[in-house]
């Protein structure tokens, strides 16, 4: 029997769906190139969007991207969410920028590469000559490829000699990094996606995985289905789509979850669910910045954090907190905690991260299949690129710090620059960097692969800063206009996703190679090439002598060697062959590491270590349980601004929507931000579905259509974050966590009036 193309597709689609529900093995033809897509070749790559990092193949025909299909040999097992599936549409979007633009008479007009790059170089040179290296800065992205981020950092820190290099991971994962570093001594999760398949209890805190990480959420649902009795607890003020599958949804006043996390620990201790032996062997205790406390101090600290006290502060029910603690702490059960921006984007974000780790450390539910703290990453390369590149203002590659003399000396040697080249003082973190543009201290800012003109908190203030007289702003971007490129003096057309080659590192320390599938559109160039060009024009060409991204990777393998993040066995060839590799991976033959710090899995733990775990990140070889009391958000409601304001994702769109709005199917779905509110609040305000309401904070105001839903918490309004017309960040707060310098996007006070 022969099938026509349509029948073949339908059969493949049915087989894939049936396989997903455990009814059928995916037949070979379903995983083979989909004939209907008409692709001539399929190139291995990774989704451009979220930190789940789904592996996929890009279908190419006549030099154009015509389709994608999920990689069944990768962690996503062939699945893609709709955003991933629609990736081909972004490649030829009408607003792809195809040639450089420079501002003339206050208008952006087409220019040649030569004109644009010589203007950029001359402005940077003049600013450095007049104001010194710190008169310029760089703002990068967790969406840039690792090789690009590394080049930027090397150029600015070792060439120009400024540490004013930061990026949007500061807005995204900085508090998670701060949490890992303060608790374990080293950045990055110790667990992996595989833990989802073994967990008996999953605690999701400040994470709407159903919309933000759909393929991971599907895996969570699969686990719940495969192992009857698996419990899911969702801690979220809103009744999100994620909360719909929860066995227990604990809603609370936004910004009070530290009280709840301490109360869970209180119950674990009181009801004997702790692992004394594990604590004795592996935990230190600390307060403030020092590990100077004891287990007894911690227990005494927890005395006050009863579920009843947490209820008083948070509005969550004490009984629910007890239930959550009992499920989490039950002996013999594997417990997994996952969290994301609800915890990270807070002025107590690092503390909140510490408290998640505490639960695992005091119960010993850590480093075992299904038992781990696992922060979920927002961007596709926020984990990999920034740590490998060392591209934050206080960092050097692989956890090295600019304040550490030994680390600076190591990097100066590796980079072949004279001793004393790298400045010892941290540069400006994101909010301070934009404030320095505002007050004229930073004269030239180079923005790569990100959209701060929409994504910064209190964005109105920083939009003004970027257009300030005397400020010179370069934006390297694949699309124009964006809410940032419209403010630029020069816009450089950057190659997009399948048009270039490089590495992404996702949530679980999985590194994957995006192979180049097609040539860059128009005159677009990969950011790697643009940075090398800029380096040469600024007289630092020797620092970036690379011809290809592979050359950069070869250097990265030498820079990571011998560190706690060693993946020097991850050669380009291995990346090409593999469907993702998890580090540490220090030798060519090593298979990679699912669970870090675990004997027999992590190659950095000696095989003869007497215990199952070794927290080698800290000198005392222990992880720190921190005494972190609840503290309120930087801004809480009052008589004038009586409601809590928070923002977040919808499944159809991603970040500032630059890409997803270019998919016609997604443009019509939830592209306009709305303000969701509880029926009781809507009644008091006299608004109903579809009305316009003005949401105003002390910083700024925006108008949104009203959506009245039960899932909203009374006293809180929620706004979708992707709309480029209705800017959700006009009201948000740019107060930052003192440790991570991450702003508190997730909680501020507003008043809402009918518009």
């Amino acid at each position: 029997m022969t099938m026509n193309r349509r029948e073949l597709m339908e059969t493949a689609a049915a087989a894939a769906a049936l396989a997903a529900i455990g009814k059928l093995e995916l037949p070979a033809h379903a995983a083979a190139p989909v004939p209907a897509a008409g692709a001539d070749k399929w190139v291995k790559s990774v989704c451009r969007y979220c930190g789940t990092g789904c592996g996929l193949f890009v279908g190419v025909k006549d030099g154009k991207v015509v389709a994608v299909k999920g990689d069944k040999d990768n962690h996503n097992k062939g699945f893609l969410c709709l955003k991933g599936f629609l990736l081909p549409e972004i490649m030829s979007a009408p607003d792809r920028l195809l040639h450089p633009l420079i501002r003339k008479n206050d208008k952006l007009v087409p220019a040649t590469w030569e004109e644009a790059m010589s203007l950029v170089a001359s402005k940077f040179k003049a600013a450095i000559e007049k104001g010194g290296p710190d008169a310029v800065g760089f703002y990068g992205s967790g969406q840039a490829l690792t090789e690009e981020t590394y080049c930027a950092n090397k150029l600015f820190k070792a060439g120009i000699r400024t540490n004013n290099i930061d990026g949007n991971p500061r807005l995204c994962m900085a508090s998670a990094v701060g949490g890992y570093v303060t608790t374990f001594g080293k950045d990055e999760p110790m667990g992996c996606y595989d833990d989802i398949d073994h967990a008996d209890v999953m605690l999701l805190v400040g994470s709407n995985a159903a919309e933000a990480h759909p393929i991971l959420f599907q895996r969570i649902v699969r686990r719940k289905e495969a192992a009857k009795g698996t419990k899911i607890v969702v801690l979220d003020p809103r009744k999100t789509p994620t909360a719909r599958i929860a066995d227990l949804h604990i809603s609370f006043t936004a910004g009070t979850d530290l009280a709840i996390l301490n109360a869970i620990a209180h119950v674990l201790v009181k009801e004997g669910m702790v692992d004394e032996e594990f604590v004795k062997a592996h935990a230190a205790f600390g307060e403030g910045a020092d590990a100077n406390k004891t287990w007894e101090d911690y227990k005494a600290f927890l005395e006050a954090w009863t579920p009843e006290k947490a209820e008083e502060i948070s509005g969550a029910k004490a009984a629910d907190i007890r239930t959550c603690a009992r499920w989490f702490g039950e002996k013999g059960k594997a417990s997994l905690t996952m969290w994301t921006m609800g915890l990270n984007q807070r002025t107590k974000g690092v503390w909140a991260n510490n408290l998640c780790h505490n639960l695992h450390l005091i119960t010993g539910k850590i480093g075992l299949p299904g038992s781990s703290p696992l922060s979920l990453t927002g961007q596709p390369n926020a984990c990999g690129g920034v740590r490998d590149g060392g591209a934050l203002s206080h960092l050097l590659p692989y956890g090295r710090l600019v304040v550490n003399e030994k680390h600076r000396a190591e990097m100066e040697k590796l980079w072949g620059v004279p001793e004393g080249t790298i400045q010892p003082k941290p540069g400006l973190a994101t909010v301070d960097l934009f404030r320095a543009v505002e007050d004229g201290k930073v004269k030239c800012l180079y923005i790569m692969c990100t959209n701060p003109g929409q994504s910064m908190p209190n964005v109105g203030r920083y939009r003004k800063a970027l257009r300030r007289e005397g400020a010179f702003v370069v934006v390297s971007e694949a699309f124009h206009p964006t809410r940032t490129s419209e403010l630029a003096d020069v816009v450089l057309p950057a190659a997009l996703w399948a048009e270039k080659e490089g590495v992404y590192g996702c949530t679980e320390r999985r590194y994957q190679l995006l192979e180049q599938s097609v040539k860059p559109s128009g005159e677009a160039r990969p950011d790697f090439e643009i940075l090398c060009d800029l380096a040469a024009r600024l007289g630092h060409g020797k620092l970036l002598p690379f011809k290809t991204a592979s050359d950069v990777w070869a250097e990265l393998l030498t820079v990571c060697k011998g560190t706690a993040y060693d993946f020097s066995g991850m050669t380009r060839d291995r990346l090409k062959e593999s469907h993702g590799l998890l580090w540490p991976l220090p030798t060519a033959g090593h298979p990679g590491t699912k669970r870090r710090y675990v004997k027999g899995d992590d190659p950095l733990v000696p095989a003869d270590h007497p215990q199952r775990i070794l927290f080698y990140g800290r000198p005392d070889r222990k992880a720190v349980v921190w005494l972190r009391p609840h503290q309120p958000a930087a801004e809480v409601p009052d008589a004038e601004y009586p409601l809590i304001y928070t923002t977040g994702r919808v499944i159809e769109h991603w970040h500032t929507g630059t890409m997803t709005r270019n998919c016609k199917e997604l443009r019509h779905a939830n592209a306009e931000a709305v303000v969701e509110m509880h029926p009781d609040d809507a009644k008091v305000l006299g608004v109903k579905n579809g009305d316009l309401a003005k949401v105003a904070s002390r910083r700024g105001a925006e108008t949104f259509k009203v959506r009245v839903i039960d899932g909203s918490r009374k006293g809180m309004v929620f706004v979708h974050m992707h709309d480029d017309k209705r800017l959700c960040n006009l009201p948000t707060n740019d107060a930052v966590d003192p440790i991570s310098k991450q702003p508190e996007f997730k909680v501020c006070a507003v008043k809402v009036t009918k518009a």
């Binding site: 193309r5 349509r6 769906a17 897509a37 599907q218």
Partner: protein, 78 residues
């Protein structure tokens, strides 16, 4: 051009069969099986990705028993 997608519809526990019956009546969706508990496999055929997206949205909005709609394999005919 037609979009053809394998779709998994997740339901509340035990409701797969009942929801599958309701889905069977929808144009553009052909139910291919369920797991007897909370998962349904179906094939969607529609004009474009927008139709697929709209269907997912509509199902989530209209049917409280549905907790998720996940495209699996998605391709285009034509």
């Amino acid at each position: 051009m037609t979009v053809i997608a394998g779709v998994v519809v997740e339901t509340l526990p035990g409701l797969a069969a009942a929801v599958a019956k309701r889905l069977g009546a929808l144009p553009g969706l052909s139910v291919r099986g369920d797991d007897g508990d909370r998962k349904i496999a179906a094939v969607f055929t529609g004009a474009d990705g927008a139709a697929l997206e709209a269907l997912g949205e509509e199902l989530l909005r209209a049917d409280e028993a549905i907790v998720g709609v996940f495209p699996t394999l998605v391709g285009r005919d034509g």
